[in-house]
Symmetry: C3
Subunit: 344 residues, 3 copies
């Protein structure tokens, strides 16, 4: 009995300390390191990555009455060379946001992935990785970019100078919005409907309309669906629908459709459509990822990509993986990779 | 026996936690994230900041006999774009210093804010913030900069390659000094009394005299005063006095006077004088900041600035704020902002 | 009463742990800050460093069955100016590696110091510091660099895009290997046997052979020896032997010999030989470092360097030091420094 009580005490102390330790330094240091040996068509064998690599700092502060303050700062880096992501991106490429969370939902301000780009990862059979075998950056979004006026080398799925709102989840529904200012971000000129000498958007140009992104998600039992619409700084628009179903616990089937409209910057051939089908199958420590999709720009060649992946979990935080993919437009680029993914 | 068991338990719990909590290191991760939505005269609405944004790493080590070793490394960043400060400054723009503290005071070596620039923040009604509504970078220092030979885009209040000394506080008095080497810092040329072809200080030039900064502060009951003198790498000098009084607990009144002398680099009009008056009023969670000042350069137009701020504390670490300011020289620049400030 | 005691115990454990456990995450934040005031021949007095300065993040995860996942990310910086190392190097200049450790040894992938360069530090009387009085970067390696095709300003002892293997220690022996891909790293052209117009290795050129590095170390009682061989991306080769002995506990004597062969890029004078002798003597808190060595390139002047250092430990993590060194080739460069070294 005394023994039991002492064990209870130990558990109590441990769990209390879980809370204390967190409160004491309010900062959680976290991250991902993912590296692979890969072979890409016509390139020398290389050390590549499948997922983006992160080193982040985050925390929440309880303000009472169900209100919380929260922040998150996330670096991105290349493990094969030690540089920040692409050796060109911002120090906190991942995100830099501060906000409040309460019964009303969550409001954040800063830089980060847009509402649309964030929500769609749940319908990507390659769970949102940005490496070569991944599908999220091109096929899944019909070639759309959220950052046309940001510096060359920027990623494609973020807004600077923006405000985020995420509603609470009500009956399975959640509403997510991102609205940015028209601030210039020191990016290159976009010729668009202009000429090289008089581009439609000059270098370091401001947005011609408020960039905004909206996504609605719905989840119940084994079904999930989403719809999204986004407009970037040069008024390119995209709409997107996605759905997933888990017919059994081990299997997840996914489908997405995206439609990009560039009529603000292109006279003709300004529509691009894309679709993606995928499946994840989990059995014990093993997980298989399959994806196939097409991107069809008006008046240009269709891009077709399939990706096949296998993951073997060594723990909840660490897995080994093997990937193969083939992306074909005018030519075919094949990718084979073998790597390790570790979260900390 | 039960006693022994309990001690065993304690040891067990401690050692279990040893595994859990690997961060028994002495490093504290800390920071600030501050972002606002702001409107500035003739500019598009923007996501701005009021205070500098920090991510820091610091620690102290007890060496016995009242002696401590200490270090501090502080990044600065822009939350609206995720870049390091101004997208150009050093990784540890805030500071990078190591030192010893004991009965003799504190000695540190590295890079950081000078003794003068550090001490004056206590007399700034905008408590030393560097954003547009702040007063510390121009009005409070009569336009003086501590870093004329540092790379373009540097801040204005630091020394590289320097040693800091802070005395213990004796009868309310403290003496603070910063002395730098004459090392070149890869900065631009300063024409000064030379010509564009033969500038007084060439690009990547060394200091012509040891840069140094001294500040004496005195604090007793409701009064505080300070006096400071500093000379930068191109022998511009500034002297400064500041005073504050708390006639009641809720109210703090502040006044400063600064005098910049540029006779080493300018033939004429080499004096600039500035004064600043301010008040802070705190009532419960609310705080009001008011500041007004003028900077008068010889033979040039006077700059006048008023700033008005309101802060509402959600906790000791988090507050919301609203700012308005107007800075007039030849033209008027008005600023209105609404933001959140979070410390972690 | 027992109840009360248990609560007391809980409180005691909690408060003890408050100090201990700053983060429940698996990430250890660690680093070094080292700064000195130094005088170098013909240069103004400066704030310099003796050792490289680090801010790192590392962790291990127990995967069961003796298997561990591990990662390490290490920034390098200049404390006198706050920039990242040399104001040009990658964010994680120190290393960025992820791997697995088990009975088989340790396998890692990413960027870091090569097997040869890592092992040789144990035979360097200046324990591997990279500052001016150190011996590891030139004399100890016969002028060899591991990174000839990496960007200008890179360090000399790392491989990008590589895999590391460290065997378990068996009967005092350990085998260590690093093998890189031939990937281009965006470095400058190497003229080599070509001409300036048609360099042997173009800018951003790939390696002409797989870069690889092998080191075998042996340690028993008071003796340690090592042998190593490495080939870089332009097929410069180096072989190296080192030995140390501790005739008494306080004294360590060291000797190394290195031989660099550049016949792949030079028609003549392609051999460089170097030797180094050193001693460390520890007495209580004091430690004396002595090193002398020569580097003899074929057909060029011999470089001779001696270095003399004194360290006074304030704790296991912090020491003060004084250094003097003289490096002579065509001219003599003398160095005198006084500094502090702090680990966290």
């Amino acid at each position: 009995m005394a023994q039991v009580k002492k064990q209870l005490l130990a558990v109590l102390v441990l769990s209390t300390l879980g809370g204390l330790a967190q409160a004491q330094s309010s900062v959680v240091v976290y991250g991902t390191i993912d590296a692979a040996v890969a072979k890409i068509t016509d390139k020398t064998t290389q050390v590549a990555k499948r997922d983006a690599n992160k080193l982040g700092f985050k925390g929440t502060e309880d303000l009472g009455s169900g209100l919380k303050a929260l922040f998150q700062l996330e670096m991105r880096y290349e493990p094969d060379t030690g540089t920040n992501e692409s050796n060109s991106r911002p120090l906190f490429q991942g995100q830099s946001r501060v906000g409040l969370q309460g019964d009303f939902g969550m409001v954040r301000i800063g830089r980060g992935v847009t509402a649309f780009q964030d929500a769609k990862d749940a319908f990507d059979p390659y769970h949102g990785v940005s490496g070569t075998p991944g599908l999220k950056g091109d096929i899944e979004v019909a070639g759309y970019t959220s950052q046309p006026l940001d510096p060359a080398g920027s990623s494609n799925d973020r807004f600077n100078n923006a405000i985020w709102y995420n509603s609470p989840v009500v009956n399975g529904f959640q509403f997510n919005a991102t609205v940015a200012t028209k601030e210039a971000n020191n990016g290159p000129a976009v010729v668009g409907r202009g000429t090289a000498a008089a581009p439609q958007y000059p270098a370091n140009g401001e947005a011609s309309a408020i960039p905004m992104s909206y996504a609605v998600t719905y989840k119940q039992d084994m079904f999930a669906v989403m719809g999204a619409w986004e407009r970037n700084a040069i008024e390119t628009k995209v709409w997107f629908v996605g759905a997933s179903v888990n017919p059994m616990k081990e299997l997840k089937l996914m489908a997405t459709y995206a439609h990009q409209n560039q009529d603000h910057t292109k006279v003709s051939n300004n529509e691009t459509k894309a679709w993606l089908l995928g499946a994840n199958y989990t059995m014990g420590a093993s997980k298989v990822l399959v994806g196939y999709g097409q991107k069809k720009p008006d008046g240009a060649v269709t891009t077709k990509q399939w990706s096949l992946g296998y993951e073997y979990a060594l723990s909840k935080r660490t897995f080994l993986y093997a990937d193969a993919s083939d992306k074909r437009a005018a030519t075919s680029v094949k990718y084979y990779g073998l790597g390790v993914h570790h979260e900390f």
